[in-house]
């Protein structure tokens, strides 16, 4: 069993569209949507939810007004500025429990918080594990870890060959959680200066965690100079540019139809994504 995670650094470079096409192309796989705060893969794969679980994670401090003597110690020690006028702002509270431990009147309790839900679903392409982080909740990294764990369990149980993960943008907590221990990262970039800047940072994270990366330049023909620059950069970093996908409105049209682009059109975009998946299976040693 091999796991590939699709990342980009910069958002909106086309990760989910590409993973959706991989779903249609790959045999013997489980899909995992690791972008838990804005999960879009289900929009393409149209899952039927088989199992829904609550994600309880972290705690929030609550002050019992009856017991509180308004001594102010909790406000003084809180480093997250979460307590004002003897009330806890649950959004700012990091759940550290410092206030709970030091309150001389034992007026603070720590409440478990429901931080989201995760799902195991069937799709016409195979099983999908996805999640939804609650609005303004923390611990996205833990929820991502849970999604990957469940995907792995399904792959093991059903003897599936691949885990294909759609990762979140950025380089922080949920990205690290999506990446660490994966067999391969596919970095989807675009030929814009910000795309290049962000590619360099996410590649740095791959190096940091020792995960081999391949690159894919999406909408490569928007700016050929920048595409050359990315190719040179990747060459110098020892990263293979595995595909160059042209800009084409069919990508958006397919999305509006709710279809992976490889099922919507047979033109250059789809051909390039097909050969990209071939190359990934090869890199994973299949």
């Amino acid at each position: 069993m091999k796991e590939v995670v699709v990342l980009s650094g910069k958002g909106g470079t086309g990760k989910t569209g590409i993973v959706g096409s991989f779903a249609a192309l790959a045999q013997s796989k489980v899909l995992a949507d690791c972008d838990v705060d804005a999960a879009d893969l289900p929009l393409l794969l149209k899952p039927t939810i088989r199992q829904k679980q609550e994600f309880w994670s972290g705690q929030v401090a609550v002050i019992d007004e009856e017991k509180c003597t308004q001594c102010g110690l909790c406000q003084d020690v809180c480093r997250f500025d979460a307590i004002n006028d003897f009330k806890v702002d649950p959004v700012s509270c990091e759940g550290c429990g410092f206030c709970y431990h030091i309150c001389p009147d034992e007026a603070i309790i720590m409440k478990e918080s429901l931080s989201g839900h995760w799902f195991i679903s069937d799709t016409k392409y195979g099983p999908l594990v996805h999640a939804r982080l609650g609005i303004a909740q923390e611990n996205s990294g833990k929820l991502v870890a849970l999604v990957r764990q469940q995907a792995k369990a399904i792959a093991e149980k059903q003897g599936l060959e691949y885990i294909i993960s759609d990762g979140p943008p950025g380089i922080g907590c949920p990205v690290i959680s999506s990446l660490s221990g994966a067999d391969l990262a596919l970095l989807v970039t675009e030929p814009t200066l910000s795309g290049i800047h962000d590619l360099e940072r996410v590649l740095g994270v791959c190096h940091h965690f020792g995960v081999t990366a391949l690159a894919c330049i999406n909408k490569y023909d928007i700016n050929q100079d920048n595409t050359h620059q990315i190719e040179n950069y990747c060459f110098n970093q020892g990263v293979e540019v595995t595909a160059k996908v042209p800009f084409d409105n069919v990508v958006t049209e397919a999305l509006v139809q709710g279809l992976p682009v490889v099922e919507y059109s047979q033109d250059k975009v789809s051909q390039e994504i097909e050969s990209l998946w071939q190359r990934i299976t090869h890199a994973l040693g299949a």
């Binding site: 609005i135 303004a136 922080g172 690290i176 910000s194 740095g204 709710g258």
Partner: protein, 288 residues
């Protein structure tokens, strides 16, 4: 007035909007641009600011004086993040799990825990052609963006207009960046992904009790469902930007929209006037 620019979905045009809005209003108002997308900051690519100040961001992590430690285990017991483990003869600290709350050092009965700074990123500030500029950069391999975002926001000078560029998503970095704003612009695109993530972003700003308006980018392909949603939810669409290869080309080269196509400046000034109107109206109501 603080205006944040968020989106839910990545790559919808937050950076384009934040930079062009800042450049459009700088002749009329003092303007400060804070790039709070500290994982992937991009505003500097467009504004090319002269950086005059750079400050490392540290979070305080515990350091135990093991000569005096009695291995009582109190620190491990109070740590909510499992960043400390105590065995009979050793204390193990996992700095990357530590949130820097300070509970362990305060509560240590022997007072043998001190705190040392661990660098997790940097905040840089400077100026770009009349726009005061600040951004944060999370160090590669670090997980926690919020402490850096807090540091960037501490640089807000409270004068004129502050524009905050936010990271994509709806979780803690977004909340940290958006909270305390007077208005939140949500940039989206007319696709099912754009709509799905807009709905999540709207729920987030409503949770924070911040008024919002939508900018619809790359109109022309896609569908009309974002417009239908906004109309149903009574959310104003304050600006639409068409799908245009010239706009995409400028963006790819790191040129702001209002520099490359100055005719857009009027649209951004109108956008700013509308935001001001909404914020003022709300301010004169009962709610802050």
């Amino acid at each position: 007035m603080i205006i944040s620019v968020a989106s839910g979905k990545g790559g919808t045009g937050k950076t384009l909007v934040a930079t062009s809005l800042a450049l459009s209003i700088k002749d009329r108002d003092k303007v400060q641009l804070l790039d709070c997308d500290v994982e992937e900051p991009n505003d500097h690519v467009f504004l090319k600011p002269t950086i005059t100040r750079s400050e490392a961001v540290y979070i305080p992590v515990p350091k135990v004086d093991e000569d005096k430690c009695t291995y009582c285990g109190k620190c491990a017991e109070v740590c909510a993040y499992n960043a400390i483990a105590v065995s009979p003869k050793h204390v193990l600290i996992f700095p990357e799990l530590c949130h820097g709350c300070g509970a362990c050092s305060y509560l240590c009965p022997e007072k043998v825990i001190s705190e040392v700074g661990r660098e997790i990123g940097v905040v840089e500030s400077g100026n770009s052609d009349g726009v005061e500029f600040v951004h944060g950069r999370l160090a590669i391999g670090e997980a926690m963006a919020p402490p850096i975002i807090r540091k960037v926001k501490e640089q807000a000078n409270g004068e004129g207009t502050v524009i905050i560029d936010v990271s994509p998503g709806t979780s803690c970095p977004v909340v940290e960046a958006v909270k305390d704003s007077d208005f939140c612009l949500l940039v989206t695109e007319p696709t099912p992904f754009g709509l799905n993530d807009l709905v999540l972003a709207v729920e987030t700003v409503r949770e924070l009790n911040i008024p919002c308006g939508v900018i619809l980018n790359r109109t022309g392909v896609g569908d009309r469902k974002v417009e239908e949603y906004c109309s149903k939810e009574n959310i104003p669409i304050l600006l639409t930007i068409p799908l245009d290869t010239e706009i995409a080309r400028l963006y790819s080269k790191g040129i702001t929209l209002v520099e490359g196509m100055p005719q857009w400046k009027e649209s951004f000034l109108r956008l700013f006037a509308k935001i001001r109107e909404i914020v003022n109206e709300r301010g004169s109501g009962t709610k802050r």
